[in-house]
């Protein structure tokens, strides 16, 4: 199986663990949306709106380097952290196994 584990830190501090498929070419944003997390992702995954902002609580160094476009978009945010990423730019793959993220973006409400 090529599933990986993604841990989500909920607003109350508790952790949820999801099994994520790596063979479908999904981004973390798409996977979180499909898992019914409250995530807006206005632009649909083009790194153009920053509404899918996540803070990577652990495993940040395992991720692929962000592109300049992603950095530029992250810099517009009021709540950017040292380990902020746009979840639409993180393609589910084995390097992400076991990371923990916290959803920081604009929700649906």
């Amino acid at each position: 199986m090529s599933d990986i584990k993604i841990h989500i830190q909920n607003p109350d501090g508790t952790l949820s663990t999801l099994e994520a498929p790596t063979e479908m070419g999904l981004s973390l944003m798409e996977f979180l949306k499909a898992s019914e997390y409250d995530i807006l992702a206005t632009c649909g995954g083009m790194a153009l709106c920053a509404t899918c902002h996540v803070q990577v609580i652990s495993g940040f160094d395992k991720l692929n380097e962000a592109t300049n476009d992603e950095y530029a978009m992250l810099d517009t945010l009021p709540n950017i952290t040292d380990t902020s990423r746009l979840s639409c730019q993180l393609r589910l793959a084995s390097n992400m196994d076991g990371i923990t993220v916290k959803i920081m973006g604009d929700g649906l409400s």
């Binding site: 206005t42 517009t76 009021p78």
Partner: protein
């Protein structure tokens, strides 16, 4: 007052195609959009991106699609109000509606199609208590409309994106004192602007505070100072200022649509898929703003919804009148 057959809330691709479909049925449309131009997200967020799933176009740039839709709608002489947001939707008499914008423009119509996409793009606000106390001309603004207003004034800009950098450069020669506050330790925007901002800071023309968060906004009737905290050293400081401009990009909000008596589910309007009507007869919702079982937020689905909406709106506007659908290949496009 503007009078029309169908008032369309929004001017994105689905709204534009609705003009065409309504036009084939001899109904006129007036469109209102908060953005300054037609095209919605396509023109505002991704004008140069290719779209690959428009039937008949293996690939088309977003702005090109918008231009084509405008051209296609042209024979039906649509009218537009840009830069205004519909605040209220009210019934007028038995069947008609009156819509009013934030700037007081009034539109009277026989049916309403809400094609508002994701809602209105509103400035993203930082989580600082009491910001709203100083909005409305008391020191805090989220957009810079008239830079001259800041001549000789003390000002703080918060943010690290392109617009924060560009405005800092522009206003540095206008303000008496300008501080740029950014939460990160670096800027990763357009390299030219970053270099220029760094130079201004070096020359002492602006004060640059990196790794710094807004802590609180202080004052009585108007903004007097802003307290800041360095997130690395935990050092706090308070800077006296006349203005604070947080520039943190735009985020979509459903906005006033929530209060129009429509059934809403998770920021989207529930519709009947027979004709994309809402729970209010004569009011329809098409495109990304509606929701129904198996909804796909695709432009092509919005086009289909616009066609069915137009036929239903025709029946609503002309009760009892019989008509048959005519193909454009048979009838052509009969312009107004």
């Amino acid at each position: 007052m503007i009078q029309t057959d169908i008032a369309i809330v929004g001017a994105g691709p689905v709204a534009l195609f609705a003009i065409f479909e309504a036009g084939l049925l001899k109904m006129r449309c007036h469109l209102v959009d908060y953005l300054p131009q037609a095209g919605g997200q396509l023109s505002e967020i991704y004008p140069k991106k290719p779209i690959y799933d428009i039937p008949g176009f293996p690939s088309i740039n977003a702005q090109e699609l918008v231009d084509n839709l405008l051209k296609q709608a042209e024979p039906f002489k649509p009218t537009f109000t840009f830069g205004e947001r519909i605040e209220s939707l009210e019934k007028k008499g038995e069947r008609d509606f009156v819509l009013t914008t934030n700037l007081g423009t009034v539109i009277q119509c026989k049916a309403v199609a809400i094609a508002g996409g994701l809602g209105c793009f509103e400035p993203r606000k930082p989580e600082v208590v009491g910001l709203d106390k100083f909005e409305n001309g008391k020191g805090i603004n989220y957009m810079i409309l008239d830079p001259e207003k800041y001549r000789g004034q003390k000002m703080i800009i918060a943010g690290g994106g392109d617009s924060a950098l560009d405005w800092t450069i522009f206003l540095s020669s206008i303000c008496s004192e300008l501080t740029l506050v950014h939460r990160s330790e670096a800027f990763r925007g357009a390299p030219d602007s970053v270099t220029k901002v760094m130079e201004l800071a070096k020359e002492g023309k602006i004060k640059l505070l990196l790794n710094t968060n807004l802590l609180s906004v202080n004052g009585n009737d108007k903004l007097e100072s802003v307290s800041l905290k360095n997130i690395k050293t935990n050092e706090e400081q308070t800077i006296h200022t006349d203005h604070l401009i947080p520039l943190f990009g735009l985020s979509p909000k459903l906005g006033p649509i929530e209060h129009w008596g429509l059934q809403i589910d998770k920021n989207a309007i529930e519709v009947n898929t027979d004709d994309y009507s809402t729970n209010v007869p004569g009011v329809y919702a098409i495109g990304d703003i509606n929701t129904y079982k198996n909804k796909l937020k695709l432009i092509l689905c919005g086009f289909h919804e616009a066609a069915l909406m137009s036929h239903s709106a025709y029946k609503y506007i002309n009760p009892g009148v019989k008509y048959t659908m005519k193909y454009t290949t048979v009838n052509g496009v009969n312009e107004f």
